[in-house]
Amino acid sequence: MNTTVRIGSGQGFWGDDLEAPVRQVERGPIDYLMLDYLAEVTMSIMQKQRARDPSAGYARDFVPLMERIFPRCVEGGVRVVTNAGGVNPEGCAAALVEAGRRAGVSGRACVGLVTGDDLMDRLDELMDAGHELRHMETDAPLASVRDRVQSANAYIGAAPIVRALELGADVIVTGRSTDTALTYGPLMHEFGWSADDHDRIAAGVVAGHINECGAQCTGGNCMIDWWTIPDLADVGFPIIEAAPDGTFVVTKHEGTGGRVTVATVTEQIVYEMGDPATYITPDVIADFTTIQLEDDGPDRVRVEGIRGRAATGFLKVSIAYSAGWKATGTLTYAWPDAAAKARAADRVLRQRLDRLGLVFDEIRTELVGWDSTHGPLAGEPPVDLPEVQLRVGVRAGERAPVERFTREIAPLVLTGPPSVTGFAGGRPRAQEIMAYWPALIRKEAVEPHLVARVEPV
């Protein structure tokens, strides 16, 4: 059995630093490269792309990335685990095999593919069988929006990732794998942790939570002494150095920028946290109130003490449905009395929208540069504020009023209060809203459909 396994994080979301995974494989030793591309809204974006092009629907950045690092991964024995597959893992894996051939690793690498998380084609069958897929916050049954559903994917656990690794996969592509399973799956495989080894799997979940947002635990977006954090231009992404007993160290490659301390790791641990004693994953419930952190030398933090308990009988389902249209327009107003001018312009705009008989579910006005982040806590803006950006957003069930709104911003430049600029970007764009519908489903409805298979490059 291995004594230490190093799992490097290379992407924290779709759009993250493209050079980070390259740094992870070139600047020091790792055993696994974990690439997390998915967030709540990402699946619906990918679904839109797939609707336009059946070969799309996955994180396209991943393919050229692998073409670049595939030889290095094969030669260095670095296995890659990613949820880049999005709503089209088959298409992603096929493109990956092609990329591997172009990179010259034919006959030297295998691609693993995990499918079965996509419930879209089974949705009516599941609902007919009594799975109501009620919204986790509002308790409304999915039937109330069924005709507008665009995608439905179960957040799946580590079992198919472990299976693909057993089958010899070097690069594993999944769909809506939970972010943390991309880290704890390889640990379960390497250390032979059994499904009822709750404490160790929970430790793997915490490792995964620390890893899943990339540099957010190594000095990126870190508030503590942010002005002293060195060389963020070359920030080192996190590496989990795990031991078979479930303890691990968070670190980064030597010579990279950023910082790993108890404080930077703690900031990431509390990110997107709910009830810390009950962090639910498909494989275990982890108790974040048991985490013990300790400095372990420069840019090293030791993590131990983590307890877990048996998982629930459910998987979370990520559903996207069409929920109307929205648009946001902006204009910049200058001193003197910038905020007063912006507010006067907002009033003119609202009067015009009203006279046009346009009906919106919401109109929201913010002053960027004054209250768009702290709201009323910002107080009243000073008359000598040098400038402020007026930002008005609208949302409606129908497209037409939103489209008309997009034509009402620019006219304010010549027909509203003075000292206004910042309209060079043209009219705002009406966007269709793909809303997020979180639900639960019994595991038995999904798990028998999960498949891991392997294909040589």
Partner: protein
């Protein structure tokens, strides 16, 4: 006792789950955790955010990390893709919480003065510049 904004006593990070923002607040000095825990009741935090939070505020304690986690329900204008807010994912709600003022003994107020902000004159350019620096 003196009133001190949280920005000098704690750092924080926030994120979203649907229409709920979370703020994880971490004491700079573990010795101040208890003081924060006593004063930062869910009611106090709810009052601080006022109209920014339409639902309730829940609080969870992480004494092992010297941290408190607040869930601010109904804070994100519907959340995710529905929201019209500039901060639709609640990324900087953390900083709004750091405006809240708590009562601390005078020696603590003295000890934490300036904490959490760059020194006056700080600049990202090597050597610094008088143009930088936080307003104390």
């Amino acid at each position: 006792m003196m009133r001190v904004p949280l920005v000098h006593l704690a750092h924080a990070r926030s994120g979203d789950k649907g229409d709920t923002a979370n703020v994880g607040l971490i004491a700079y000095d573990r010795a101040h955790y208890e003081l924060l825990r006593e004063q930062l009741t869910p009611e106090r935090v709810k009052e601080h955010f006022g109209s920014m939070v339409s639902g309730g505020v829940e609080r969870f304690e992480l004494p092992n990390l010297g941290a408190l986690n607040f869930l601010l329900h109904g804070a994100l204008g519907g959340g995710g893709t529905m929201s019209l807010m500039n901060d639709a994912q609640g990324k900087v709600f953390s900083t709004a919480l750091l405006r809240l003022e708590v009562d601390v003994p005078e020696e603590v107020a003295e000890a934490v003065r300036g904490r959490g902000r760059p020194p006056a004159g700080w600049s990202p350019e090597p050597g610094g510049s008088p143009a930088g620096g936080g307003d104390r």
